[in-house]
């Protein structure tokens, strides 16, 4: 399956057109949507119109850059002018926004062609993407398995060739979980790196926006388009974007931290082996592996859950009189958040401050942290527990345990495939210091160049 970089090269060499690329994606959607249920809305006419315009512009010498003419999709939290944006919820089933969100504005300005809005976990509040209102989204590697969530549709579409890139949002792992379960790259940039203007929120201080792609370089390309200040979002950083293109795969001088506690424990042995193999690849390419002790991640995760419960409940409190409009799992979480006293919430935010300081000290010794992404293979649809080392573990908590902390800390984190186990993808996670997405992308591109590609899911 082609990457954005390959398709962009073909477009400029005259080997294909945006209309051809878009038509191929739309054909894939028509064929696979009944099996995978990845899209909430498909916009074929608009996509073909946009693609024709892109082709015409290229013929006339107007080149908007590497996303020009490339078919993409947006998770259904990103507001799109005139196109239904549901947030995977009945509450917004007929919501037709009058504006484009900042992410859509930037992607359209860069020439990206929107093929549709992706399916997701209800209100982006969960990890399965089994949506009680819009149906179960399925993993293209095995239809009995979940794709992960909440950006499940985004990952399924990129993995199965229905588009070249899809945007996701990540509050406790919602880009990285589906990316890992479906074998794509998933990048959660630093908090404040990508504007949240016009994105339907789940949480005020944990939501991050980022791309799911078929290569690390493609993720860098998309981030280059999205990163930068936006005065309409007062959490968006004024720091100018860096250059994200990982031009060299030489890792000489790069210090990669290998956690000696927490992240490699309670993980399936075969998944740990894949992560260790990636670390060895990095060392072969010049990196120095540094054993590190990380601060208390169990507390970090508890802080993240508590803050999420309260802030998400505050977000949706105005709608809670319509209890029949929510799925049972989401309603349970929203009720949970409303039980928490304000003092507990504030103490969690204060502990968050302490943990940020402790992690900042870890990053004085290293440039990047490497961990297994998720300790387990994708659960089966409807499965709420999984077995790890003979122990029954809550599947939801297991999926988020290595990821959620970096939402609390606001640090850039990316997952990329590290292998296939029993025909299912597994991934490794790279984490960098604040606003240093460049080092994460550089290390990721190097590892990607050295490891065996996992190929495409066995679905036609």
């Amino acid at each position: 399956m082609k990457t954005i970089a390959q398709a962009a090269a073909d477009l400029r060499a005259g080997r294909t057109t945006s209309v051809e690329l878009t038509s191929e994606c739309l054909a894939k959607i028509e064929c696979l949507q009944p099996k995978l249920n990845a899209f909430l809305t498909v916009v074929p006419e608009r996509a073909l119109d946009q693609a024709q315009t892109c082709d015409q512009e290229l013929r006339q010498g107007t080149d908007r850059g590497p996303l020009h003419g490339i078919p993409i999709a947006l998770k259904d939290v990103f507001e799109t002018k005139g196109i239904r944006t549901t947030c995977g919820s009945l509450l917004f089933a007929d919501n037709i926004p009058e504006r484009d969100c900042a992410v859509a504005e930037r992607l359209f300005e860069a020439g990206a062609v929107l093929v549709g809005k992706t399916g997701m976990h209800e209100l982006a509040y969960g990890v399965t993407s089994s949506n009680p209102h819009y149906g179960v989204i399925r993993n293209p590697w095995n239809l009995e398995r979940i794709p992960g969530g909440s950006s499940g549709g985004s990952a399924v579409e990129v993995a199965s060739g229905m588009c070249f890139m899809a945007m996701g949002s990540d509050t406790g792992g919602s880009i990285r979980i589906p990316a890992a379960f479906c074998g794509t790259v998933g990048l959660k940039p630093t908090f404040g790196r990508v504007s949240r203007y016009g994105v339907m929120p789940l949480d005020f201080t944990l939501d991050h926006m980022g791309p799911l792609t078929r290569s690390v370089r493609d993720a860098a390309t998309v981030l280059q388009v999205l990163a930068g200040p936006d005065p309409r979002d007062h959490t968006c950083s004024k720091l100018p974007p860096a250059s994200y293109d990982p031009v060299s795969t030489n890792l000489s001088g790069v210090r990669i931290g290998i956690p000696q506690d927490y992240y490699f424990s309670g993980v399936e042995a075969s998944i740990n082996e894949c992560a260790h193999r990636m670390a060895v690849h990095a060392e072969d390419m010049g990196a120095r592996l540094v054993p590190v002790k990380v601060p208390d991640v169990e507390v970090l995760n508890a802080v993240g859950r508590l803050i999420l419960w309260v802030e998400a409940s505050a977000t949706f409190e105005p709608f809670l009189s319509h209890r029949d409009q929510f799925g049972a799992d989401v309603l349970n979480l929203l009720d949970q958040g409303r039980l928490i006293p304000a003092t507990e919430y504030l103490q969690a935010q204060r502990i968050r401050h302490l943990l940020q300081q402790e992690f900042a000290r870890v990053f004085e010794e290293i440039d990047c942290l490497l961990t297994p992404a998720i300790p387990n293979l994708p659960p089966r649809v409807g499965e709420t527990t999984v077995m790890i080392d003979g122990q029954v573990v809550d599947a939801h908590l297991l999926c988020t345990r290595n990821l959620r902390g970096f939402n609390v800390l606001g640090l850039p984190a990316m997952v990329l495939p590290s292998g296939l186990i029993d025909g299912l993808p597994v991934s490794v996670q790279l984490v960098g210091p604040a606003f240093d997405e460049a080092v994460v992308l550089k290390v990721g591109a190097a590892l990607e160049s050295r490891s065996t590609p996992i190929g495409s899911p066995p679905i036609e």
Partner: protein
């Protein structure tokens, strides 16, 4: 009636036994995990401002 039940009642959260018991158990578990860290909080430790993590501010002013 416990404090939790009073809060739930005031907020219209259903008090159906299993669901509510699980919610309270989770809150008690969180309290136990966070208790040692609460003891580390200094008087001058401010919460991360709700809409602007210090992390972002710090990088911008460097």
């Amino acid at each position: 009636m416990t404090d939790w039940e009073l809060i739930a009642k005031a907020r219209g959260i259903p008090l159906s036994a299993d669901r509510f018991r699980a919610q309270v158990a989770l809150l008690e578990q969180m309290e136990a995990i966070l208790a040692p860290w609460k003891a580390k909080i200094g008087l001058d430790t401010e919460p991360i401002p709700a809409f602007r993590p210090l992390l972002t501010q710090r990088v911008e002013t460097e």
